[in-house]
Symmetry: C2
Subunit: 230 residues, 2 copies
């Protein structure tokens, strides 16, 4: 997507994670099942919120596009090798041919649950404000469902919300805080519907199952009862 050039990415280095990370902690669980001793390697990560936003002034769904380093690395490793050995060496051999554009995603507005004293719904509202620039009242956020994600690695809980906004709620251009470089993307209902089953393989843009599920919920569960602004 040529839009990615708005936030150009340059790869510097890839190293094993040896220091403490504030975002993930690699763990090994020893357990027994049916009396047999087993191990499972996993990561502790934060739970998260994700919000499907509908702008009722213009009948558009509001998403975000951003660079996700894990997606770029996954796409890169796929094209190199399917096993887990000598990652750093392979990375260095292939660094020149790396294409950061493989790491961009289309997602729901989302964020991790890492703020003490705020409920998931309050954190969801903050993410809407920070990432998209709309400032809805807390009552505008409705829980669609909660899911377990990454069940083989993190198992973290994701709260998926629906939030209706309108043009009068726009207080900034959004784009995220601190070092985030987030583009706000608006799709018509028909354009959104086309995203649900688009293949990500070699497509140059990543879309999660949760993003697709939320659009599907909107199309099949919400839209039939929605009074659209003409």
């Amino acid at each position: 997507m040529s839009e990615n050039a708005k936030h150009p990415v340059e790869i510097v280095d890839l190293v094993p994670l040896t220091e403490q990370s504030p975002y993930m902690k690699p763990l090994r669980l020893h357990y027994k099942q049916n009396g047999k001793q087993l191990t499972w390697d996993c990561i502790k990560t934060h739970d998260s919120v994700a919000i499907l936003i509908f702008n009722s002034s213009r009948n558009v769904l509001v998403f975000v596009r951003q660079f996700r380093p894990p997606v770029m690395l996954s796409a890169l490793f796929n094209s190199m090798d399917s096993n887990m050995t000598n990652i750093k060496e392979k990375f260095e051999e292939n660094a020149a041919s790396m294409n950061p554009n493989l790491g961009f995603t289309l997602e729901l507005c989302a964020g991790i649950i890492d703020k003490e004293g705020l409920t998931p719904t309050e954190i969801a509202r903050e993410e809407v404000i920070e990432e998209t620039g709309y400032s809805p009242p807390l009552e505008a956020l409705h829980l669609i469902t909660t899911c377990r994600t990454g069940v083989g690695s993190s198992g973290s809980l994701q709260y998926i919300y629906y939030c209706e906004v309108n043009d009068s709620m726009r207080v900034s251009q959004g784009g995220g805080i601190d070092d985030e470089s987030i583009d706000v993307v608006e799709f018509s209902i028909e354009e959104s519907r086309k995203q649900i089953y688009q293949c990500d393989k070699s497509a140059g843009i990543g879309r999660t199952p949760g993003f697709r599920l939320a659009i599907s919920w909107f199309i099949y569960e919400k839209l039939p009862s929605l009074q659209l602004n003409k």
Copy 2:
């Protein structure tokens, strides 16, 4: 769910992951965006396949239930603390009250792509045989879509398939290979539909967004044109 007692789980120990793991490699990427140097912590994991299975002899969808250590740990940590410090100490303090039942999931039949020389579709077929005991021909597997999962941590690619089977294809009871303890679960179409937006928070069973998306695809995209066996 009382069904979990079929494969009783006992927790032994939780330790930081310091050795090499064949399933995940913690990495740190250094990169620049908009000219500013940034880091992102992530894991390299395998890509995966997941298969929505419909048994046309009895009009049921076929899923799997299994113990997922990361889901249990995530549920446990949620109830203790939202930040990432002193995980081992907190685990030990709370070990006596841990409930392995928090770690069971309902999922699509699925597996990682780690077999050299096999295509994703061939691996998907093997997973159907190993986990559910149905042996469909390769032509029975149809790609629904490919997604990026864990975009903040692994970014791995998941191929989601649809596969129609019938009772004459059942060659074993399934249950997985090696140390896997997988229960095959059959749901009617109506029971499956109820899974799509069931909340996982405090529900004692985890369901991924991909599991929900695949059922939604079946209900809205496949079922209208399916000739059901009366």
